[in-house]
């Protein structure tokens, strides 16, 4: 049978605050275990949590960026379960009154735009970390991460393919990076997602039984895990079986999803309003001041790149998929604004290729936007050809020299002087009498051969347009 895939994502992003959500302990990663704890995040009796304002501000900005309604007052709740990494026996989260609701995110897959509904975004605290390896009969618990602030964004089941799920996750990550509220580091788990996936016969509307997949921390794993689940669930249904509602985990080594077999009663969380925290009031004036302080977001920037610089939707999309890349491009265009499309080609072409090769991030690019802008300017003014520009680019990369400086130093200026070009053409014609005769006898294809010879003799410096023009003239005889 043919099935339609229905996917919803729950995305967790760790906020880039200095202190934890309810206490002043540091959120720095990688320090010795249990060196960043206090009675509040250790869950000692009688302590009181105090909410970090920056967490609320980050949540409001995320909500505004995704067109959500901001709930005021919104309410914290306790979610109860027992696990060694959860010192209080409950997680402080939000339940029936989350800070943001009813938003949307725009994605583009294969050139087709689509709106994905965002059910809610809420604030909560992270748990600690369990360490298992090589410890015999014990597990060890590090509570440095306990109480680190998280935002959880829950989508509507609007995604219809693994590609859409990946595009949505990329978009959300891009938004938090633009806002500067999360570092987006997926390897460390600072940006991760759970996926709910079910199948239903195409053409029907009733949702099938869903499976939840936990803690996917890369775009590739998400795609692979979803593709595997689609196949697995399709087979079960085709054989007349039933999907079991369960939590599964992606095994990266074996390339399969596995059931996690969680006990039934573990899911009775007994939510209750958190009595130790007052409901959070977000005054309109506060939300408005945050909106004004927000940077330009990916969608707005993309549209502006199209209208202002005349870039294609595709080019603008690639450039704005990373804020540092967009900033780099814009800085280069500011240096020379005569040919924004050419600048875009250099950024997306040679520069990106070079950075990829070296595994360097655009943020650490050894070539300044000024250097690249200067290069584009020389090409645009006709001082150097595109071919010479490649040489200049290679020489310039990793140095602090300007394009003009390199051209001058190496004498690479394009030869556009008719006399000089004619002299080279005369030499080439004299050296190839056989080809000349054949060309004049009707072998037009040889024209390319002569162009090549002239360019070679000029060490690539002859103006290609003029070579074409003069050569045609001279070959006529």
């Amino acid at each position: 049978m043919e099935y339609e895939v229905v996917i919803g994502l729950e995305v967790h992003c760790q906020l880039s605050t200095r202190s934890k959500i309810f206490c002043g302990c540091s959120t720095t990663f990688g320090n010795p275990p249990n060196s960043q704890t206090c009675p509040i995040c250790l869950g000692h009796p009688g302590v009181l949590p105090v909410l970090n304002r920056k967490v609320v501000e980050s949540a409001v900005m995320m909500g505004l960026a995704t067109h959500c309604a901001i709930t005021s007052p919104n309410v914290f709740s306790r979610k109860h379960y027992f696990y060694p990494d959860l010192p209080k026996g409950y997680q402080i989260s939000q339940y029936d009154k989350p800070i943001c609701e009813h938003g949307r995110v725009e994605i583009v897959v294969d050139g087709v735009p689509k709106r994905i509904g965002l059910t809610r975004i809420h604030m909560e605290e992270d748990a600690g970390k369990n360490l298992h390896e090589g410890l015999g009969a014990s597990s060890h618990v590090d509570l440095n991460r306990a109480g680190v602030p998280l935002l959880e964004a829950v989508s509507e089941p609007d995604l219809r393919s693994p590609d859409e799920a990946v595009a949505y996750l990329k978009k959300l990550r891009n938004i938090v990076l633009y806002l500067g509220i999360c570092d987006g580091n997926m390897e460390r788990g600072n940006f991760r997602c759970d996926a709910n996936i079910s199948l239903r016969p195409r053409g029907t509307t009733k949702l099938g039984t869903k499976v939840e997949m936990k803690n996917m921390n890369s775009f590739r794993f998400l795609k692979q895990a979803l593709e595997y689940e689609i196949k697995r669930q399709g087979q079960v249904l085709d054989e007349g079986g039933k999907i079991i509602q369960e939590t599964r985990q992606w095994d990266t080594k074996r390339g399969v999803t596995e059931s996690m077999r969680v006990k039934e009663e573990a899911h009775d969380y007994r939510y209750m309003p958190e009595p130790d925290l007052a409901p959070v009031v977000v005054e309109k004036i506060w939300a408005e001041s945050l909106r004004k302080a927000m940077p330009e977001l990916p969608d707005e920037k993309r549209e502006r790149f199209v209208s202002r610089y005349g870039l294609s939707e595709y080019d603008a999309d690639v450039l704005t998929a990373s804020r540092p890349l967009a900033d780099y491009y814009e800085a280069a265009v500011t240096v020379f604004d005569g040919d924004p499309k050419a600048t875009c080609n250099w950024v997306m072409g040679d520069l990106s290729a070079r950075l990829n090769e070296a595994g360097t991030d655009i943020a650490d690019c050894p070539m300044t936007p000024g250097q690249l802008g200067g290069l584009v300017k020389l090409i645009h003014s006709g001082e150097i050809s595109g071919k010479i520009a490649k040489t200049v680019f290679a020489d310039m990369y990793g140095t602090d020299k300007s394009a003009a400086g390199i051209v001058k130093e190496k004498g690479l200026v394009q030869v556009s002087d008719t006399g000089a070009i004619d002299a080279i053409i005369d030499q080439v014609i004299a050296a190839n009498p056989g080809e000349l005769e054949a060309y004049r006898g009707g072998k037009d294809k040889l024209f390319g051969f002569f162009v090549g010879q002239v360019m070679k003799a000029s060490k690539g410096q002859a103006n290609p347009g003029m070579v074409n023009e003069r050569l045609k003239e001279k070959l006529k005889g």
């Binding site: 202190s19 060196s35 970090n52 007052a278």
Partner: protein, 103 residues
């Protein structure tokens, strides 16, 4: 007080056992009976609220005044690790040690 318990808010023996299980409490039969009685008494007491007409009264989320109760995002000193671990029954390698977690 237990005389006031109405059947509507009554709590069954099975529910007491379920709550005990969720709370990781091991109870004797006598304790289950006693706690069931107590829980029913508490529920009955709270059920008195149901006798009031609350039509049109907004839900009270919290007894405290609303307002800005946030703090600035600033660091305060954490506990020295020895102190953080001091009340743990078992420790190891600077961590809280717990029975092996099977995932």
């Amino acid at each position: 007080m237990s005389d006031d318990v109405s059947n509507e808010v009554g709590i069954s023996r099975n529910e007491v056992l379920k709550i005990a299980k969720l709370g990781r409490l091991r109870l004797t039969d006598a304790e289950v009976d006693a706690l069931g009685k107590d829980l029913n008494a508490i529920l009955g007491y709270v059920a008195k609220m149901g006798e009031l007409d609350t039509t049109g009264v907004p839900t009270l989320e919290h007894a405290a005044e609303f307002g800005d109760t946030c703090r600035d995002d600033e660091n305060r000193p954490s506990l020295p690790r020895e102190e953080a671990l001091a009340s743990a029954p078992r420790t190891g390698d600077g961590c809280f040690a717990v029975p092996k977690i099977i995932e």
